[in-house]
Symmetry: C2
Subunit: 381 residues, 2 copies
Amino acid sequence: MIYFDNAATSYPKPECVYKEVDRCMREYGANPGRSGHRLSMHAGRIVLEARELLAELINTKKSDNIVFGLNVTDALNTVIKGLLNEGDHVITTSMEHNSVLRPLKQMENRGVETTIVQCDSKGELELSNVAKSIKPNTKAIICTHASNVTGTFMPIEDLGRLSRENGLVFVVDSAQTAGVYDIDVNAMNIDILTFTGHKSLLGPQGVGGFYIRDGIDLRQMREGGTGSMSESLVHPEILPDKYESGTPNTPGIAGLAAGLQFIKEVGIQNIRKHEETITKYFLEKISDIEGIKIYGTSLSKNRAPVVSINIEGKTSADISFILDGEYDIATRPGLHCAPLAHKTIGTFDRGTVRFSFGYFNTKDEVDKAVEALNSITKEVY
Amino acid sequence: MIYFDNAATSYPKPECVYKEVDRCMREYGANPGRSGHRLSMHAGRIVLEARELLAELINTKKSDNIVFGLNVTDALNTVIKGLLNEGDHVITTSMEHNSVLRPLKQMENRGVETTIVQCDSKGELELSNVAKSIKPNTKAIICTHASNVTGTFMPIEDLGRLSRENGLVFVVDSAQTAGVYDIDVNAMNIDILTFTGHKSLLGPQGVGGFYIRDGIDLRQMREGGTGSMSESLVHPEILPDKYESGTPNTPGIAGLAAGLQFIKEVGIQNIRKHEETITKYFLEKISDIEGIKIYGTSLSKNRAPVVSINIEGKTSADISFILDGEYDIATRPGLHCAPLAHKTIGTFDRGTVRFSFGYFNTKDEVDKAVEALNSITKEVY
């Protein structure tokens, strides 16, 4: 099986991830931070280790400011609903995922005003369009680092500078980039960085979260047991407890720590180089095939390892179905939970077939996909 | 190591749980319900299987009404914040966990009125005290099935009847009972049942959720990608998607399915019988030791497999520390995230040492704990 659906979840994971999840459950499967016995302390240590590895990856020393939750959607809901108040204005882009757009839509019912800055047909954002959307009541800019539909990068550094100059909170969703592309929350002026553990951070599903800069305060989405200040009916304010209630996904976090360790050992620049090579190779090969339409950033520019295509005369569902059934190649068809991104690139009616690459993909696998696409287009033409 | 901290998280898990989590990650580690390829479909099937097994356990055919999230705290927050509105009154008990009390405290700031019915010093609830708390604006009764501090059962059947007669929504937290004690959401008139996967349901940490009866509607706590209705910026209303956004913890849910299958194969009545036998044996043995104070329900009555004690002259932290360090026995000291329960039983100042038993504990282990407690009390007396 050739797996090109890494933007949905990376697969396979490094062997060390499987092993650490299993070891966590078998050897130190207790509740971290709740009891005082050694098993519980061991579980607590691995959670701390994951926080520290993640803090290091995004260049902060503040590992307590790394918060773990269910997934990046959970994190984005906590951030959007905890940060914005009635009368606030927020700026986002037309390339966002529904994990940003749907909570913002919900917040409109609570009196939050949203400007969705339209990107061009390649999914690219013009900074001046963001700048001119800033109003006296603008509170935040919320933006993906790279589109999950086209891989198009957003101008994070520029947006960070613009946010800082205007006293805005800058929220970046790194779901498609963390673990492959350099993220420096300080140099990039990122105030809140949301992440998912199960994509390019190479951990298991069931862990997402966010980094939050000191001095920014959110209403927590959940209250409950934290293992701290158990005597109080009022939820504690200390980090990370404020945003983490109930038993965490310890095996998932242990697996994420192993994934982060793997990234550190291989080197993020080597991972990036490999994924960029694979992506460029695929783009080069398919750009020669008649009948294939490639979406997003022009081929000469870098994109995150996500490529959306269509073949004239076939639906995206049909193409993915044929790739899966006849060629054993896993891709994702349809709208990819980002309706406005599809409107932006002109594929709202039909979606796209998305190929998304990971560290374990090879040129040989790409060759097989190219061959398959060649055959499928010939069926049509 | 002797593990008596099963009320925090059950450990070890059945071998099939470890194996299924590993198999999920290695063999079908894709994103369920997102893409159409076979790996993704396989992942989707295991999530459905977990829903169906859980539905069967609580005697409902409505597996779509089983919702998965991060943990039971996440579920209780969704329920409490999604159900209650300004001006509503809600009744709960003094034996609740902070996962109920802290969200309710938060809701008081939004104009929700709470009555916390005081239980007696054994942690027992008098039904008439609940009945007389019902007011015209009472919306719901929220109650644990059994206390996590003393194992004391709440009169669920009676409360269900009372709720039904008064048109209230009856919410039961099964964190300490599901998988050991029979729960029938229909016969018991339970409208919403919250559960945790990692305690007596024998799954891994990182999965909790709730069952919700048809006809009860909550505001969802999160919006985002659901893999359904991707074209819409408005979150879908269908179950379970309405309450499930973003990528689920598929390996955790797969492990939970294996835990549920294990319970089904062993038989819940056999699990219960074993845990009750162990608990009674422990209670009998320690009730003879001078200097040990046992809290909760009288010894002749059934309790969930949770026993809280203290030894005169030592703090609960000291006792747990000695049990861990000198005898390799894991227990939990302190307040157990349920401050009012400790006020109720008179241990708010010092907490308790909690012994909580699971299916894999043996009489031999209990003997060792009894021996240890004998020695520790002798040090004092």
